[in-house]
Symmetry: D3
Subunit: 222 residues, 6 copies
């Protein structure tokens, strides 16, 4: 049975860093993956040009990963929390309603304020009522660097309880990450290709396969 | 595809209280459910007769739930922890090896010392190496009373992240629980039929269906 | 000795769902219960009419439960967090000052943003200084659905350490819940009468009496 | 109404360090306090003489605090965990049955293995069934030094949610602590009189009174 | 080697209460301590005069403690969170950039909303990128009263994993605290001199020296 | 100033996997590193020959890492917990007394029962009294596989708050790991060289240097 997967990214690249291999795998298996990008590198902190570049990069990455549909809400970076909660909730809720997904993958509430605000809105939009009733699995991915910069034992710390085997998809994931030239620093940057590869190796070998992606299962309904 | 499900119970009745509806559902769907009962109401705390009664009750419940195979390790209640850890690990590990399950359901480490010792041994037996590599899902069920008697915020407290819809199985679950005449107290006992029904209603309505069973997902591999 | 009890509800119905039996019990024992409702179903998300209906329902429920005094701050739903923190703190703080309560019951910080904002303001208003010095017990109640929709192991999860025996008050609690016709869905809704009954049964039987309400004790002074 | 209070100490002095002021206060109010001392400074780690000294000191402290009854189970220090769990459970359970307490104060599960083993047995003996049904309040006290030596964020860390005002009892508490000449080191020892006084001042001023004792409420039934 | 220490205080007095002894010790050892005060007792909640008084008090305390440099951002108390996150982040980030500290001491995210907002901004400003790469140690201090008023087991609770021996600095710390005449209440106030002394004694004797200050290590790089 | 470092390993290879780079770095800096190996691959679960092989491998690794002294307590694997607690405490305590270390690195309490038992004994032996008073830093390392197999959100989960830059030592660490031919599986084994390298890359890039080792600081005294 074909399933609808909704991956929600605070900014372009989070979806690929956190769930690129899993997106590619769902897509290979014939499922339909939509990516919703909530915020972007927009003024006042960035120029419109910066934004266009990252969107261009995202589109290339989405093609590589087999994403069939994508949405960009265009809220300026770090400012999602500056609009009323019910507005953000409605924007994300509308997409959930329209897509009616079986699986939702969202950011972990971490060091980047936008990740937290998006996480909270996703939690509201995916409650098991109305549009949320068809969701079979809701899980949070880890975003290299920001997720690991939460203060240990003060803020929530990421510990995966779901590992997806992406051994067959690792090359595509790395290629998709490489699309984000404006975002990915050189080694030893926390989001360098080498770091991405290391995290995939660690998550994979934890479950004794070569490459993996780790998720925190929030709600599974079966 | 037919799957093998292994449900591990510290004592007879834990498997039915914690996962009876899910066992019945797996069984209806054509999967093969085995129950491993680790301990029993044996001397010195109980008489051999007590033990035989609970085994008889268990067998009736297993038939109702569609369990195809069951094992009884016959270690006296409260005394599993008195044998060397590697012996317990081996007993449980051998069954995991033999069954090669796709899904393992185990007790939550709670107020009953046997539940903790069994939990720990299951954690060893299900590591994703050797026999454990084929396990796709490992989750802990809640055992009414004992699980809710863990000291709040000192010991681990049960919060489900997986809810199984057992609306179609609730009658069979209640009937199976009723088989355990020697174990199930009258209302308002913590394991009374009314309490079982209330917990199923709460877990179900949390996810907006009528009856449910809640689990803590420990490791999902996909 | 007659005590003053202050129950703080983000929206009308939270107080009854979370603490209706306990309110009724305090009232039966001759204590004085005041309910403070902070927010309401007001524009822009709701119409003024919606609001009036819920207030009407609340007043009926309050009579049934023996509430002697109630206040409605009339801040629009989901928008408490949009006013400056010190304004919300002052509104709630003024009521604490005026009532000088011995017991304060407040919402658990859960999936509804208003519950969190109210929780935080109550924490400020009940600090053991000035007006707060006379408070003997501060505890959070669980609000069916929202409290159980916090993300497991990421957000705080409700685990009660105080159970009130409401066996003698369950009928009145259910009747009070039923007053909220505009708010309470049919079974298997997460706030259906059946769910309310199930939660009361579970909390009661955990402590081996018929019906109960569970609270998280935050500060007890004795 | 006169209440029965049972204070359970792993070793003589824990009860006074952790709850001496509260014991004195209960006693002043006309309640009946029993102390159960589970272990002692006995061979092989200590001499019988060492043990007799501490018992003598305990008896003096108990008189000062107004303890009406005391029991000494005489299990050698660090070795409670070496006897079968059901034996320890039975020893403690029998006292609970006999005393039928309204309030039970027990050690927090901390760095001393005996504190953990006693904590676990108390958790079993005070379950709200049979003899446990009359218990209205179960709380854990903090034992200076050992409780604060739990590994932060790995083992449970003590955070009080109940503060008892012992301003009127602090002198008696300090005098009772001073009885334990063989156990209490000079300043800056972790259990020195100065440390005891400092902890009482901190717990008191947290709630804005002069001296206090902090507890972790485990189960309150009301 | 001379190090640069940056201590960040939400309001004047937090730095002295939380880290006064450690500041004095660093200063004695020849290191350079800068204090950044983010907020102040300013309108609308306070008068400008109130503010000037606290700044005057702060300056006296800083001289006593050997602080070489201080900055006051002058954001009105309780209102830091009312400006956009990126503005606060930039203000604090600029100071981190300019000072290029080896050690950063910041508030624990506790009951005062300003402490939380400052904590979050410090977490962003001290990420191990750009200006943050030279930071060897980032730790949170405890602010008497507010830190201990976090809701137990709902909000993060302070448990120190780093204790600084301030036996040689306790007199200077107490003198510096005494400079804050407008802020420090009489005993048994939660921030009274007696409470400060008690906390220092407790933290010290936990590690078996006379007086100490406790910190929560967030990130140490070595 | 030359410091004494004590690294405690449940079994040979844990010290190298968890802290090999840090050991090499301390040694390069002129500090004196001692390794205490508590258990071994001994009968009944292993043959004496198995044991000799791992000891031989350990000695080679120790030479590479610059370890100056090592001890082997020779307790059979999985059976440390079968001897009385005070015996294990004394064995480890004696070594702490003799070495009088400034830094102690110990295992995290994880999925291997020996790791837990050793952790607990180290916690006792390193309390800040007597021999423990000179310890400036006590931290737990992560042991690939076992540490990551703790049940998420039920058992303690490893989150590092101290990262050591081992960029200059990574080659020696990998060479030392390679000495353990009998223990290290091929990729994608959880303890394969590739997994070791990935974890070092992840821990390093988290702090924006090339290779790192992560620790959980338990107690720092300064």
């Amino acid at each position: 049975m074909k399933k609808r997967i909704l991956v929600i990214a605070p900014h372009p690249d989070d979806e690929t860093l956190g769930a690129g291999g899993t997106i590619a795998k769902y897509s290979e298996q014939g499922h339909e993956v939509t990516v919703l990008v909530v915020s972007g590198h927009l003024p006042p902190l960035y120029s419109r040009e910066d934004y266009e570049i990252t969107v261009e990069e995202a589109r290339k990455a989405f093609v590589l990963l087999g994403v069939v549909d994508s949405r960009f809400l265009e809220i300026p970076a770090t400012m999602i929390g500056d609009q009323p909660v019910h507005v953000t909730n409605a924007s994300i809720g509308d997409v959930v309603k329209e897509i009616a997904p079986h699986v939702v993958l969202c950011p972990f509430p971490d060091r980047h304020v936008d990740h937290r605000v998006v996480f909270e809105s996703v939690m509201v939009a995916t409650r098991p009522v109305a549009a949320g009733r068809g969701i079979e699995l809701l899980a949070a991915y880890e975003a290299l660097s920001e997720t690991h910069w939460n203060a240990p034992h003060i803020e929530p710390n990421f510990v995966p309880n779901w590992i997806v085997d992406i051994t067959g998809q690792i090359q595509r994931k790395l290629a998709a990450v490489a699309c984000y030239q404006s975002q990915i620093p050189a080694f030893p940057g926390a989001r360098s290709i080498e770091a991405v590869n290391a995290l995939a190796t660690l998550r994979g070998t934890q479950a004794v396969f070569a490459f993996g992606e780790g998720f925190h299962v929030i709600r599974m309904i079966g």
